[in-house]
Amino acid sequence: MTEIPVALLVTLSVGTAAAVALALLLARSMREARRLRQRSAVAEKDLQDAMRHQAALATRAQAVEAEVRHLAAARIPDLAAALAHPNVPVRGVADPAFRGTELDRSLASVLDQVGDAVTKERLRVDGAAQSAMRGATTTIQALLYQLQTRLQTMQERYDDPFVAEDLLGADFLNEQAIRRIQATAIVCGAWPGLTRQNSHMGDVVVGAMSRLVGYARVQVTNQLRDPVGIVARAVEPVAVALTELMANALHYSHPELPVAVTIQQGNRGASIIVDDAGVGMHGEEMERAQRMITGEEVLLLTELGDPPRTGLATVGQLVKQYGFTTSIETSPYGGVRAIVHIPGETLLTLLDEEEQPMSPMAPVPRGSASTAAPAPPHGQPAARPEPAYGETVQLGAVQDPAADAAPPVRPVAGPAPSATGPAHAAPRVQDPGGPAHGSGPAVPDGGDALPRRRRRHPVPEASLDATAAVSPEPAPHGATSAPQAPQPTAHPQASPEESAERWAAFQRGTASGRAAVDEAAGPGPSHPHADPRSAEGNPQE
């Protein structure tokens, strides 16, 4: 029986120990479970975070991808368009969230690099095209100039009216061809291809006009007071620029409307104003034209359109290289007014009209009254308002310093100083009846700083009659003037005039002899004319 309690005791103790152990275990496992629960909660949270993060990343990756697609599909085409047409805007990043981020900056730098590369390539290609054109135009231009010389020689040679007319037509066509080739060459960076001599402004304007179809519509008015010319290096550039401006004026106005061209002299230079009454330009065109003619922009052939409109681009190139200026505005006539201003300091000079007469086709300047009005009566040579203009221009190079420095030679002696009229004609010939204004170039006034216009003065009929009256017999007339000619040798400065005068005296002698024969043989009117012809026409030979 005892064994049972022992057994029970043992059992109980074991059971207790087991229970304690179990309790301990239980407590531990419960702690463990709690810890595990906590950890799993954290893990779950982490997992959720990770999930969220992954989702955000995925969204972002999509956004970046979309941005790149946007770059390729929209922004680079925008850039390409903007490079050709500067008014096209280039779009920014598609997602405003990216604005200012690293991504935005790198994409912008991609655009920059593409833009640079494209621009460089365009310049290179354009440069190649331009040099190819230059090579071609230079040769063609030289050939056309040779053709021009040939045509001109033929015009002198052939009198047959039909041949002559065809030659004139061919010359005109050739002139137009030269103009086109020259403009293209200049746009492509070539020089005008020709250096001329110092030329009268009237000649330059008329020469420019002659290169255009419809030149008959151009009406040139010359308002110059002095015989102003353009220096050699700028003659052809100014002529080309004027040609293009006049071409625009003619092209954009009705074929029956005139184009008014005015040459004006200012204090610091001279201006040529081209006015048309045509269709005009609207604001944007005007702005573009003004940009073009300043010559500040880099010029690309590809920007001139197809076919290229070279006119204003040519003007721009020339303005940039030669230092005259042009401007365009709305004309009071309703069309466009273009003004070419030529600075006096650098590009103008005074020309001697005896040495270098104006072309007969050039309009006569306002200053020369002798051609506008019939010759005034004897003793009053055509009124020339020179002294009134004493304060005129400060022009750069004075062409004729000798004439400037030469003191005015007054009539020293002579029986009829009263008949010689105002002193500014400065007659040198001590010819009793010799008309003062028939004796070659007039010497400028002493008080005048600038050399003045010297026009050949026509001899009025009345003075010729006086000549005939004073020296009725022609032979002594020549004989009296000849020995007196060497008298002015005291003035070594005046030798050209002197020799001219000597020759004139010689001519007068022979001419009066001829006139005597003529009088005996031919009708009356030729007699008085023979004399002044020699005095007037000869010295310039």
């Binding site: 009216p161 039909f162 004139l168 010359d171 005109f172 250096t195 008329v206 010759a375 001899v459 004319h529």
Partner: protein, 121 residues
């Protein structure tokens, strides 16, 4: 510095007559003598080249070729100018005075031979 200046004409001749070279009258030639009409009163309404031609002739008569040389224009063009001005009554043109009769060639040769014999004897 600059290339040598070219003497190339700046103003072409066709500008004087707007391309015409067939005068309205065919009586003109290089030696036709021109002189201005007696009344030089009205010079207005003329083109510059016509004014210049009349101005040139105001001093006296010139042959057509001389006038062309003074104007530095081809003779064919000046003919047109002159014909226009004659038509307008501003200019007179008359045929050239013929050369005086020259001695016959045979006589001249005889004189030459005579002179040579004189010299050699």
């Amino acid at each position: 510095m600059n290339p040598p200046a070219d003497n190339r004409r700046l103003v072409p001749a066709y500008l004087a007559t707007t391309g015409r070279a067939r005068p309205s009258r065919n009586t003109l030639d290089r030696l036709t003598v021109l002189h201005g009409a007696s009344d030089p009163a009205t010079v207005s309404g003329l083109r510059p080249e016509e004014t210049r031609l009349l101005e040139l002739l105001r001093g006296g008569a010139l042959s057509l070729a001389e006038a062309a040389a003074h104007l530095r224009l081809p003779v064919s063009v000046v003919k047109v100018l002159v014909a226009d001005l004659v038509d307008a009554g501003r200019l007179m043109a008359r045929a050239p005075i013929p050369d005086a009769e020259l001695p016959e060639r045979q006589i001249l040769e005889k004189v030459l031979n005579g002179l040579r014999t004189l010299k050699s004897s």
